[in-house]
């Protein structure tokens, strides 16, 4: 077990950060908006090969590092589904953003408005649909991701069935992808807030010197440490149990994180220009996806405590001995 990045992993993360850096500075219009999505960043990430790390001799953990790091950006880029879910069920690389759509197809889905492809969980099957302009409609939300919904009614029929085995894989990797995105956004939201409470003064001192603020921020930091490592572990392990633990660990704490972080940014935090929402609203967007913390917990419970007669999975996901 080694928690430090290898030289290759470090190079990968540094390379990704270099590509993302120019997109840190938001335009005046972006600073007033609810969501910052840049096709140019999306293309830059694709052209640099970050969505097919596996074909560069790296593995799913490295794809996970890409997803968690990319989620730090104030710009919402579609990385996690392309880098983790797609390769689990399909060969090659997507030509553009991939939306993972599950549940009611009439509802708004993340990235669907800008997607080239949709991976659709129909409940019975996983369907790959190519998305063209007339198929979707933009949905404006406050949730810091581009959202869209299908207007074409025949998307599933036109799509390619990938089968039930692929569906199971996609569900697993979608939870892992979600946990990584969550962890990356949460880390940045905490770092942003820690920075703010060092600068903002009240009663003649930085608000970050008040213990009420310190303790809750320390708890937020603790939560993000857990999120980071459970999500990266899941990316490495690729098991349902690890996926469910990571998703539950992330989604379960969205409420506390968003409450505390907004509190400590005070009135500034509710102005768009301050930018906090670019991360916290992503947490809110992810909080209930794929069944939310409850869904992940129940899936985990089904593995740990299956109906009578079925075989229980090993209870510890970081198994003391190889599972």
């Amino acid at each position: 077990m080694d928690f430090d990045l290898s030289a290759d992993q470090q190079a990968l993360v540094s390379g990704l950060q270099a590509v993302m850096r120019p997109y840190e500075d938001l335009t005046a219009a972006e600073r007033k908006s609810f969501c910052c999505y840049r096709p140019a960043l999306q293309r830059a990430l694709r052209d640099a090969g970050f969505f097919d790390v596996a074909s560069h001799g790296l593995g799913t953990l490295e794809a996970g590092l890409v997803a968690v790091t990319a989620a730090n950006s104030p710009c919402a880029a579609e990385v996690a589904t392309s880098a983790l879910v797609w390769p689990a069920v399909l060969d090659g690389t997507p030509t553009g953003p991939v939306a993972y759509v599950s549940g009611d197809l009439n509802k708004a889905a993340r990235f669907l408005h800008v997607a080239h492809h949709a991976l659709i969980d129909t409940g019975e099957d996983l369907v790959l649909a190519d998305v063209s302009a007339g198929d979707v409609q933009e949905v404006e939300t406050i949730l810091a991701y581009p959202y869209g919904r299908f207007v074409a009614k025949d998307v599933v029929r036109r799509g390619r069935s990938l089968g039930r085995a692929a569906l199971a894989l996609a569900r697993r990797w979608a939870r892992i992808a979600l946990a990584l995105e969550f962890a990356g956004a949460a880390e940045r939201a905490v770092a942003f807030t820690v920075d703010y409470v060092k600068q903002r003064h009240a009663f003649g001192q930085p608000i970050g010197s008040f213990q009420a603020v310190q303790h809750r921020l320390a708890q937020c930091h603790q939560l993000t440490r857990g999120m980071r490592y459970t999500a990266l572990y899941a990316a490495w392990k690729g098991s349902d149990m690890a996926a469910n633990i990571a998703a539950n660990t992330a989604q379960r704490h969205a409420g506390k994180l968003c409450f505390d972080l907004h509190q400590f940014n005070g009135g500034m935090g509710v102005t768009n220009e301050h930018s906090l929402h670019l991360w916290t609203h992503r947490l809110r967007a992810l909080q209930g996806e794929l069944g939310g913390a409850q869904g992940a917990a129940l899936a985990l419970a089904d593995e740990l405590w299956p109906a009578a007669g079925a075989q229980a999975a090993r209870a510890d996901f970081v198994a003391a001995l190889a599972i």
Binding site: M1, F3, Q211, H215, T249, A297, L321, A322
Partner: protein
């Protein structure tokens, strides 16, 4: 970064499990029912730790010259996990091997090392740690137990409290005041049989053996028993505490307790989705704590300076345990009335898990100030 155990680590864990299978007596459940601080378990620890030492499994992480084999902190931790998962048959001797011995190796005089290290490595001695006082817990530097130099000796007067294992201990790692400055403190190593020491156990909510007052009345300790220089012990205390940065792995017993509750709920047909989701959330909490603990072991194995990830791992584990206690009392309210020792021990141990060895709030202070760089209020 990668998360696999090495084949050597797997093999080592198997070796430890095998040793436990072979060494633990048939009546171990009974011996251990009142916890590792109970007189019975401490007595047994003297037998068990000796046998463990014979197999080279008591101090493998110590230097070869001191009876170890320079094993890595990973092995030290695997050992701790396996011991804790069966109820810690080493008893209080886990302290000896984890931090008292290593602290003596660093700061002890040749005579002190000669006197103590071989005995610790042989598994035949029980120590207690006398730091806290009625007026000095989190604020340890407020301690008032005084040692005054008189010729070749120190005369100690004062009182300690919450001294785990004191009633059964052979030796004492004692923190005393030797000057008027806040951090003018020193450490004395003395036998608990020294005249003038009185141990008074008192009842409490936690498991047996932890709640003792220790009174020192004109206790004469030879000056050669001082560890390091007079009034320079603060550095030693910090060094010793740094070994505790990898907390005690409580997730095994936590999982055992949770399985008990789930078993009961299933038998009674009450394991509905709400309880299932909550129970699974607790498992997620334990596994998160485990992973964060491994992160700290890794840092230690690489000789990195301590980070606040140690504090993070501790509070993650404490929160999972706290959630479990709450789950037990909510869903299986008879858990503490059925006479089950494991449940009782878990619940009782958990009350103090966020207090002993640095409170939960202290951990948060450290994370905020040392980890996040926030400064203290003026």
């Amino acid at each position: 970064m990668e998360f696999a155990w090495t084949p050597a680590q797997d093999a080592y864990r198997q070796q430890v499990r095998l040793a436990l299978d072979e060494l633990l007596p048939v009546d171990w459940a009974e011996i251990s029912q009142d916890g590792m601080g109970s007189a019975r378990q401490i007595d047994y620890s003297r037998v068990f730790a000796r046998a463990l030492a014979d197999r080279g499994l008591l101090v493998p992480h110590w230097p070869a010259a001191r009876g170890g084999r320079d094993a890595s902190p990973w092995e030290q931790f695997i050992l701790a996990e396996e011991m804790k998962s069966v109820g810690e048959p080493r008893g209080p001797q886990y302290m000896n091997v984890n931090w008292i011995g290593p602290t003596l190796m660093r700061y002890g005089s040749p005579q002190q090392q000669e006197e103590h290290l071989a005995r610790i490595a042989a598994g035949s001695v029980v120590w207690c740690q006398c730091y806290s006082e009625p007026g000095a817990g989190t604020d340890l530097a407020a301690l008032t137990t005084k040692a005054e130099r008189r010729g070749d000796a120190y005369i100690v007067n004062g009182q300690k409290i919450w001294t785990s294992y004191a009633a059964c201990a052979d030796w004492c790692f004692l923190l005393v005041r030797t000057g008027s400055g806040r951090k003018d403190v020193s450490i004395l190593l003395l036998p608990m049989s020294t005249p003038g020491i009185e141990v008074r156990p008192f009842p409490g909510l936690v498991e047996d053996g932890h709640l003792n007052e220790v009174f020192f009345t004109d206790v004469e300790v030879p000056a050669t028993a001082m560890l390091g220089e007079e009034s320079r012990a603060w550095e030693i205390v910090l060094y010793a505490l740094s070994f505790e940065r990898v907390g005690i792995p409580r997730y095994h017993i936590g999982r055992e307790v949770l399985e008990w509750a789930v078993g009961q709920l299933r038998r009674e047909g009450r394991f509905d989705d709400i309880a299932r989701a909550r129970a699974a959330g607790i498992v997620a909490g334990f596994e998160t704590a485990r992973l964060l603990t491994y992160l700290v072991v890794d840092q230690r194995a690489k000789d990195m300076p301590p980070t606040t990830d140690g504090n993070v791992a501790r509070i993650a584990a404490a929160e999972a345990c706290t959630e479990l206690s709450d789950f037990l009392l909510t869903y299986t309210p008879d858990c503490l009335t059925g006479g089950d020792h494991v449940l009782n021990a878990f619940y009782r141990g958990n009350i103090s898990a966020t207090i002993a060895a640095g409170t939960y709030e202290l951990q948060l202070n450290l994370i905020a100030q040392q980890g996040l760089g926030l400064r203290r209020a003026a």
